[in-house]
Structures are given as C-alpha cells and as structure tokens.
Amino acid sequence: MKGIIFNLLEDIVRQHHGLDVWEAMLDLSGASGIYTSLGNYSDEEIFSLVGAASKILEIPPADVLRWFGRHAIAELSVRMPEMFNVHVSSRAFILNVNRAIHPEVRKLYSGADCPYFNFQDAPDGSLTMGYRSSRRLCHLAEGFIAGAAQVYCDSVESRQDKCMHHGDDHCLFVLNWPKAAASAS
C-alpha cells in the first residue's frame, strides 16, 4: 500500500478525532506510524490500523473505511486539484479512474498497484462498477464514490449487489445519479 494512504488516514483521524486517537491506533495495532507518501508499506499495516480505529471508535471496520474514503477524496481534491479540475461531475471523475486517475497515480508512484474497475452502463441509466482485488477494499471504494459526489456537489446512490466479503468472486456496485446530476456528466 502506498504511503499516501497512511498519510491521509493519519491526517483525517487527527482532524476528526485528535492526535491521541491516532497514537492509540498505533499503540493498539503495533504499526510503526512512520510513513512518507513516497514509500510503500505492507497491506497488513493498513488493515490493522483500520481494525484499531474500529475498536477505539466503536464502529465496524467497513464503516471506518467508508468514512476514511469519503474524507480522503476531499483531502486529495485539495492536494491534487489538477486531477479533479478536468471533470465536471462525480460520474465523469469515477469513469476516468482507470484512464486518467490511476495513470496519474502511477506517474507519481512508480509500481503503484492500482486496481482496475469494470464499468458498464445499465439499460435503466445506472452504472455498474465491478471491483476485484486481493485487498478486498470495496468499502474504501464506496467511501471514495461518496467523497467524489461531495467534491462535485452532486449526489450518487450506491448499492452493492455483490461482495467478496460475502463469498462472491468480485464486488459489484450499482451507481445511480439522480437526473439533474447525471445529465451534467
């Protein structure tokens, strides 16, 4: 996992819950707490930090990831505005993850192991998004989607029809933008 994710997690936890909670998360998880955005750290470390946050904040790990994802996107839009400026809606932004966002990430962090999302327009106007990764971070993705909607001031309804945590071989989201927002993409 890239160091930027750990940096974002630390910043967001500190902003919302204070330095003590972050320190407590480090203590509880046994994670080193020394992260630079340029570094690469074990996936286990992020999972144990999320687990620690779940225990300390008394919310399920899935919700920790959703919460983190939502705020992380907002934070990224401040740090890397050029990635967001070229799109006018969350739908456009999300559809560009494979084509623009992840290639951009790879430019910064060579060897970044970015997941690939399968998008498909459904006949009813909704968008299905498939996700398959050994990290099984579908909840983080869900948070990212919600965060993107916040950044672009539109709203998206997200429903997860399949989940690797429930025995499926991949995760499947059905995303719906209400009329007004959809037409803007």
Binding site: T36, S37, R106, K107, L108, S110
Partner: protein, 645 residues
C-alpha cells in the same frame, strides 16, 4: 534528576507541537518536491519512449501510411487526445491531402482507427496555417472553421498541429483534437517538433524510394523508360491474352559521328531532341494503340506497341517516325541531320526474346540496306541472321586455323605489255570451298575482324614481295603490289605509322606498295584522307582509287585527291565494247585522269578486243582474266620470270 527537566509546562508542549508541525510540513514539502521530480522524470521517460518508438517506426516500417497511423495513435495516447489526422503536403508544397486510412486494416490500430475515422471532420485551415508559418500551432478554443463533428453537431475543445519535416521543408502536417479546451502546452509543442523531425524520416525514405524506383526504371537523360522497364512491360504484354504486339527499334544513323565531332553535350542534346520527336509522333499517330517508348542503349530507342488494329498501322507509325527523324535538328547553331533506321517486329505469340531479336534483325537489315529505312522482320531475315552469326564465328577461327590465303592478280602495262605488278586478294578456304570475298569481307569490316586480317595480309605480302624480288629477271624491273584497305583499317589511329614501321622492319621500299581505297573511304573524312595519304605518298607509297566511277565522284575533291592511280571499275570495262554509255564513261575517266596527272588501271579485262580498245584510248594499265586470274604466289613466279603475258 534535575526537577526543572521534568516540568512539562503547557508552554513547552505548545512549542513541541509547533516543532512537530514544522517537521511535518517540512516532510510534506520534501515529498511534494520529490513527487514533482518523479512526475517530471516519468514525463521524460514517456517522451523518450515515444520518440524512440516513433523513430523506430519511421526508420523501419516500409509504409508511410502505417507509420503515420501508428504515430497518430501513440501521440493521441501520449498527449491525451481523442482524434487525429494526417495531411500530406504535395511535392509543389501547394496542396494538402488528408491521408485516408484503410478502414479494413485495423490490426493493432483499432483505437487510432476509431479516432481517425469517426466523429471529427478536420478542416484544412489549421494545417494550412502550420504550412504557412512552419511551426506547431495550438488552438485553445476551436470553432467550426477548424473542425466540426461528423454529424454536424457542435464541436468544442482544443486543437494542435505540428509539421513533419523533410529536411527544411514540410512533408506533412499532423492535427490532434482534444475534447477539453486546453491551454497552450509549450513543452508539448516543443516535444512535438522533435517528433515531427523523426517522422520526417519515413517521408524521406519514401521519397528516396520513389526516386530510386523511378531511376531504376527510367533513362536519366531523356526521362524515357529504360531497358528494364521496357522488358517488364514487354513481358506483361506477351503474358496478356494473345493479341498483336509489336516492337519497333529506332537507331540514329549518324549519332556516333555527331557525338564524336560535336562532343558529348551535342550528342546528349540530339538524343533528347530525338526522344521528344518520337514522343510527338507517337502522340499524334497512335490513335487507340497503347505504346511505351524507351531508350535502351546509346542511340537506340524502342517502342512497345499494343492494341494494334493491323500490321499496316504499326508500319505506318514507323514510317511517320522515320520521316520525322529526317528533319534537321538545330544543334549548336547549326543544322544537323541524323536520320534513323527502324526495325519492326510483330507477333501474336512470339516470346519477348524472339520479338526483340527479330526487331534487331530487321534493324540490322535496314542499316545494311543503306540506313534511313524501315524494315519489317521476316522469317528469311532470321535465317540470314543465323547464317551470319555462324559465319562470324567461323571467321574468328579462320585466322587461327590458317584458312586464309593471299592470291595475286597480275597488272600489265598496256603500252609496253610488261608486267607492272599484282593486286593482292584475300581468299578464304572454308570447309572445302572457296568463300567469295563479298560474302565475308563486309562482315569482317562490321565486326572489326578486318583489322586483324589486314595485319595478317600485310605480313604475307611483305614475305611474298621478297620472294618476287628474287624471282625478277633483272633488278630494274619495277613490281608493285596493291592491297585493299577497308574503311575500318583506315580509321585505325596508328594506320600510317603501323604501315611505315612494318615496311621499315621488313626492309621493303615503300614504293613497292600501292594502297587501294574506295571513293567512300576518301570522302567520308576527306581531311583525314588528305593528311594520311599525303604522308604515305611522301614516303613513296602509291595510293589508288578503287572501283572508280561507281561511287559519287565529286569533282571538287578529285581536284585535291591525294592519289596516284584511278582504277576504273570492271563493270564499265566489261560493258564498254557493247554499251556506248560505258565506253563514254571510260573515255571520260581516262581524259580526266590525264588532266589530273593520274595513272589509270582498267579492271576486268576479259578479252583481246577490250584490251585493244583500252590501248587505243590511252589507258595505262590493265588487269583481268585476259591477263591472268588471281593465283597463289607459287603460280605467279613464272610470270614474273618472263615479265610479260
């Protein structure tokens, strides 16, 4: 432990927190700097990768279209564009033509194909600006003047275009479209200039390929097809369903003389002028016939004719060309005549080789029969040509295998009746028969074998003269041996030197030798004849004009003729007893010779009556069957000993 150390005041904590925050910010700044560098490095790597890819494409892919298609695709990906197109600049740098990529050829280009074929219609306006300003151009907000959607819908976004350079000129312009209205990216434009230079290699290569291909198939002087293209086209014509095909060979009769006398520049100009003339005749006279005009050798042109309605049409065309070639050329401020000989061969199912060979034989025939003519190939010519080839090969062997011999025909003084000398005549004994000189001398002359035969004859004569001198009844008896000199022998650079040197080596007085040449040799290069024969005469060698009366005797040159003897052609002599005109001619020649102080020898005296007549008319000498047939040396020695008939 010092108590002050353990005091943790709110102030200290605040300071530590500030320090921590500074450290945190410093780390972020460092990360940001690194990230910027990484990004830059990545970009440079991508640029380098693209340049390398374009360079290898441009240097390796044989098809320009394929190079451009790959390049458009790669640049689209690199520069985040959705549509692109390529415009080729015409050779005169005036026009732009959009490359129409083959929509079925989508192996590996599917994305480029989609980009190129669909959605966006590019206007020529932007490429024209690039062509005019010779630099890349970026349009931040495009309007319909630059591009529009294929379905005529509104089209927004940005465009950029850059030139593909071939040396210092623009060979093509590539145009790219992006849906986003992007501000000018000068770095990208600078980079694309590099790409444009690399891509230019593909055009350069194609241009030189085209040039090479053209040069391989054309004659650089006249820009006509060359032998190779002619042969290819002929082979194709032959392979096509059976139809009448003709090959017409055209040879400029006087080209060599003009080239040698006026110089190579004049020769080249003549060839170009001749080519344009033939083209003109073809344009005006071929009607529905297809033709290809080629220059296949120095002064040899050839025409392939197809779709010929009938043989006569091909012959008429040949005759039209022949007539046109008779007109004078204006070269170096003088009028030059260079008529042409033409050989025509037609065939329905002949092979290409046969047609070419037949046309060649017909051309040879045209030249043989006096040049400035058209001959159509007939099978008999082929037989004759084959015979000739055989003869030529036999001739080359004849010298080595001792098949030649020299015979001597006596020449007598008609006034005194005394033996005056001999005419040396070559004889060829081949396969048990005597081949007449007229059957092989012209070929010897043409092939150049005559020079070697001439040297051999001179060797023989030198030996024989020594034998004759011994056989003479008394020392004072003057015996002269005449030998015939061919035009080619005479044209040898060292002709006179060789002859004099030889006589000197053999210790033979030059006055023992008489050279017989025809009027044609004299007239062909009169200045040279005057110089060379003048020099030989000053050493005592006599010069005789052979077959006099038969050619076109010019009174003008007769006056200054560097000669001692006129030999009156046998055809007049044999006819003079019965034909008054022949008698008059002989009489006239005798009077002329007297006036010009030339000795006369009558050839072909066959009976006593003619002999008497010639004596009465005052002819100096004579030869013929009446006095003796040509015979080997051994058979004339007795005659020498007697000294009379």
């Amino acid at each position: 432990m010092n108590p002050t150390d353990t005091i943790v005041s709110a102030e200290n904590i605040a300071r530590l927190m500030r320090q921590l925050e500074r450290e945190r910010q410093a780390r972020r700044d460092a990360e940001a700097i690194s990230e910027r560098s990484l990004r830059e490095l990545y970009k440079q790597k991508e640029d380098a990768h693209l340049i390398a890819r374009i360079a290898s494409l441009a240097n390796e892919d044989p098809e320009v279209e394929s190079v451009f298609r790959h390049a458009l695709d790669a640049i689209c990906k690199h520069a985040e564009c959705t549509h692109a197109s390529a415009f080729l600049v015409s050779p005169d740098h005036e026009e732009l033509k959009q490359i129409q990529f083959d929509p079925t050829d989508d192996v590996g280009f599917s994305s480029a194909k989609t980009r190129i074929e669909n959605h966006i219609v590019f206007d020529l306006r932007l490429p024209k600006i690039v062509l005019a300003e010779k630099r890349p151009i970026w349009i931040e907000h495009l309007d319909e003047a630059f591009a529009r959607a294929r379905d005529d819908g509104p089209c927004s976004g940005s465009l950029f275009a850059f030139p593909v350079m071939v040396g210092s000129t623009i060979g093509a312009v590539l145009v790219f479209y992006s849906l986003a209205e992007r501000p000018v990216d000068q770095k990208l434009l600078d980079f694309l200039v590099q790409i444009g230079i690399q891509l230019g290699r593909a055009l350069e290569r194609r241009n030189s390929d085209v040039l090479l291909r053209y040069e391989a198939r054309h004659d650089p002087l006249t820009n006509l097809a060359n032998r190779r293209q002619f042969q290819e086209s002929l082979a194709q014509a032959i392979d096509a369903p059976p139809a009448l095909v003709a090959v017409l060979l055209i040879d400029l009769d006087r080209f060599k003389i003009i080239n040698d006398s006026l110089g190579h520049n004049a020769g080249d100009e003549l060839l170009i002028a001749a080519a344009r003339r033939i083209e003109q005749v073809l344009a005006e006279n071929t009607k529905n016939m297809r033709y290809l005009l080629a220059r296949i050798g120095g002064d040899e042109f050839t025409i392939l004719l197809e779709n010929i309605p009938e043989e006569a049409a091909a012959f008429q065309l040949a005759e039209a060309i022949r007539r046109k070639m008779n007109e004078p050329y204006r070269l170096h401020e003088s009028s030059i005549y260079s008529p042409a000989s033409l050989g025509l061969a037609l065939g329905k199912d002949s092979s290409a080789e046969d047609l070419m060979r037949n046309a060649d034989i017909a051309l040879y025939r045209a030249k043989l029969h006096g040049r400035g003519r058209t001959e159509i190939f007939e099978q008999a010519m082929h037989t004759a040509a084959v015979d000739q080839l055989k003869l030529e090969s036999n001739l080359r062997n004849a010298l080595a295998s001792g098949e030649f011999a020299v015979h001597y025909q006596p020449i007598f003084n008609l006034e005194t009746g005394k033996l005056q000398g001999f005419e040396a005549l070559i004889r060829w004994h081949h396969e048990g028969r005597l081949v007449p000189p007229e059957d092989f001398i012209p070929l010897c002359e043409e092939t150049g074998v005559i020079v070697y035969i001439g040297e051999w004859v001179l060797d023989r004569i030198c030996d024989d003269i020594k034998v004759m001198e011994v056989a003479k009844p008394h020392v004072d008896m003057a015996l002269t041996v005449s030998i015939n000199i061919s035009p080619r022998q005479f044209m040898q650079d060292n002709f006179a030197d060789y002859l004099l040197q030889k006589l000197h080596e053999e210790n033979i007085p030059p006055s023992k030798l008489c050279l017989e040449v025809t009027e044609a040799v004299m007239v062909k290069d009169f200045v040279r004849a005057q110089i060379i024969f003048g020099a030989l005469r000053s050493h005592g060698i006599k010069i005789g004009i052979d077959d006099f009366g038969k050619g076109y005797s010019s009174l003008n040159y007769l006056r200054q003729l560097p000669a001692d003897v006129l030999k009156i052609d046998g055809s007049f002599i044999s006819a003079m007893a019965v034909d008054k005109n022949s008698y008059e001619v002989v009489d006239l020649i005798l009077q002329l010779a007297k006036r010009l102080s030339l000795k006369t020898i009558a050839e072909g005296i066959e009976d006593e009556a003619v002999d008497r007549l010639l004596r009465e008319m005052g002819c100096n000498c004579g030869q013929g069957y009446y006095y003796g047939k040509p015979a080997p040396l051994s058979q004339v020695l007795e005659m020498i000993a007697i000294g009379r008939k």
